[in-house]
Subunit: 240 residues, 4 copies
């Protein structure tokens, strides 16, 4: 995986997070404005899980989903394809989950929304949110560092998910699994592979959370159900 | 499989069908009223595929789905579980598809809504309807006579199908596949096994047909997609 | 209203219905093949309610909804607008409901699916079906003969109905009412006016019926709920 | 209206907000723990619009919607009625919108998600969020201070909204309007009156926002569409 970027609210917040990362002992790399098209300066760091993340405050504002800022219609009429509303989250495979958890919760303001605990009570998966969303980023324990499992795009409804699955067939796209539901987050999901071989998800629903909610816990003896709520078994492919 | 029964419109229709079956050379067995609870006399015959069917005209009328006959509400408020609207169809495995097709279309008034043809143009699956429904009964070629593949119950919506899949998980019921879509009929579906091991389907949507529509044809090189439109492969279990 | 046409299954059926109409005492007018584009000969008659109907057996077969006859995808990818699946039914205003009922049930093969009875038990609305559909044509008592209330197009889902309502707004189309549900048929509905001022309906769901079901009865003291199940009042506009 | 309460994340946050309110010049009233059942101490203040608000940090934690904290099923099986997921927001009528806006954005951490501007550019409605939700509280200009327009409960889907509308009819509950869509927030909605005469809303969907999004603006010449996207007119009742 290259990197995952988070937009922060403004330059003040970016400077503060930069200082906080360095104070925490996390090396920070500067990337100048304009290196990415239409993007301001970026602050880059590596999580203990091996993944690179970037923060930035400035980004060209293209509005909401193609709608006017004034008297916007219910949805853009010229959408094609799956009509994803937004990029939603990414799920990473890597090690050093506790150190990664500390970095994300103590420095970056995330909170633990859901987790998977093994029979010894060790956290083997952590779903982190900084909003009311089910998760903004998630990590699953894996001996190899820095791997990407999937990126996820948000659809509005379970009907849209059916439409997406139909489009996957109509375009001879490789499907992994779905439409189905996750136990974790209770979101509805399809996984499929884009032509470069990366796993993508389209996702809708998913429980809402607040920072003062207790995290939801799944136990590894129910891992099949936690991942695929209906089939209740993991396909081998999912682990890669 | 024991038998599948069809209610006919009245005693006149039953007598006519009885005569038509005998004229066609099909042996007919009489079963007296009351042998089945709340059911009038039944006329029993065996299709060339090996399956037994029964016709009857009288059945205790229990109304529509638990609703009043006068000023009925939109749905019954005390439903539990999957809330099936009706028994919808059954799919049979057996041989002698052409002779079975003749019996159902020439004597019983069915018409061919969809079919699967192999590379030689031989019909290996026939979906028969006598209404605007996608099918009322279907036959798939199988060397063994008289086997039942599944019985299917109609749900109203794709949302109801999600709810049914959730209930399958909550009740530790064995799922076969779904929620997904069929290519044949384009209906949305879940297959699951009841505690006695029989495959059941809950089903919604499905194309509408009229007797003067041309049958829809699927070819066996697309059989995976014909059966499971999203996965586009048959699981081995489905063939049993 | 000009006329409403029904396609019959074949030329034999057309000839039989022609004879039956004449035997019943109904004047029949002949319209030659080709007078309507891509349409065979038509048999025209007037119902006692004042409406004209036509029957025909031959019509250019354009297939199902733009899908292939062989290995058809789930839906046509290039649809725009509300994506109506089919013309569904029409509702007429007129008088002489009993004589019209007789003609449709005794000669044309319809059955009574639903009705509205006034406090004297007089039928003031009759919903007639010749399939498992909630209705194929309906008549509401009105002192003036031969008026059209609306024509209705079938959508697949309640989600499609929301999308249709959104499109009505986006295109500045005049809406009458909806999205809502009918008590009669329990179908979900929107009424809107096309630029020529005719009321159109998009409709989904709706109870299924069989000819041996007892008709569902609504009483005029519940007429608001029978027509608009959620608001439970008739808007004055509806009666025009 | 009595008051609307917001739970804050912890006692530290409560103390900070208390200090911030006082520093801003807003009188603060203390209410002891236990005065409300299962609720810690509350801090009460009045907004310039005339409405009272309360903040508290401690509340008995009853879990998520009746689900287990460990291996939770997709939804609670014993729900009855409309199955609201959560209290979502309230909409207030009152004056002094600019001062109220300042208090909510400068002291309490809300941001402006949507607004209605009149022909002079004066803000006559402000929708404020402190999450990714479409709004957590909204104010509409009205000459009288301190009035409640409605409280809103979140449903999951447009199907759930249909079910809610059906239940409103089945229970002879007074409906105001719906199911329909709002232009503002694009949420789907039903308004109805509880037996005490208060307007309630059930609501689903609604655009997501982030604090760095530009506010969406509706103009008063499109107010009908802004409020009721499909009908595009305000019923008089709505203004009361």
């Amino acid at each position: 995986m290259d990197f995952m970027g988070f937009k922060v609210v403004d330059e003040d917040a970016l400077r503060q997070l930069e200082r906080d990362l360095m104070a925490y002992g996390c090396a920070v790399e500067q990337l100048p404005a304009g290196e990415l098209n239409s993007c301001g300066r970026r602050v880059r760091f590596q999580a203990p899980s091996g993944h690179h993340f970037e923060l930035y405050a400035d980004k060209e504002y293209t509005g909401k989903w193609g709608l006017n800022d004034v008297n916007p219609e219910a949805w853009p009429r010229d959408l094609k394809g799956m009509a994803a509303v937004r990029f939603d989250h990414a799920l990473m495979y890597g090690d050093e989950l506790p150190a990664t958890y500390d970095l994300f919760t103590k420095v970056l303001g995330f909170y633990l929304a859901e987790q998977v605990l093994d029979e010894n009570g060790t956290r083997v998966a952590q779903f982190l949110s900084l909003s009311t969303k089910a998760h903004d980023v998630a990590f699953i324990h894996h001996p190899e560092k820095g791997r990407l499992h999937h990126v996820s795009f948000h659809l509005e409804t379970w009907e849209d998910l059916l439409r997406a699955a139909d489009l996957i067939s109509m375009t001879d796209t490789s499907i992994d699994i779905g439409p189905t539901r996750h136990g974790l987050t209770h979101g509805k999901t399809i996984y499929f592979f884009d032509p470069s071989g990366n796993r993508n998800e389209v996702f809708c629903g998913g429980d809402y959370n607040y920072p003062d909610h207790k995290p939801v816990t799944w136990t590894t003896d129910q891992l099949g159900k936690a991942i695929f709520y209906h089939d209740r078994i993991l396909n081998d492919r999912f682990m890669t």
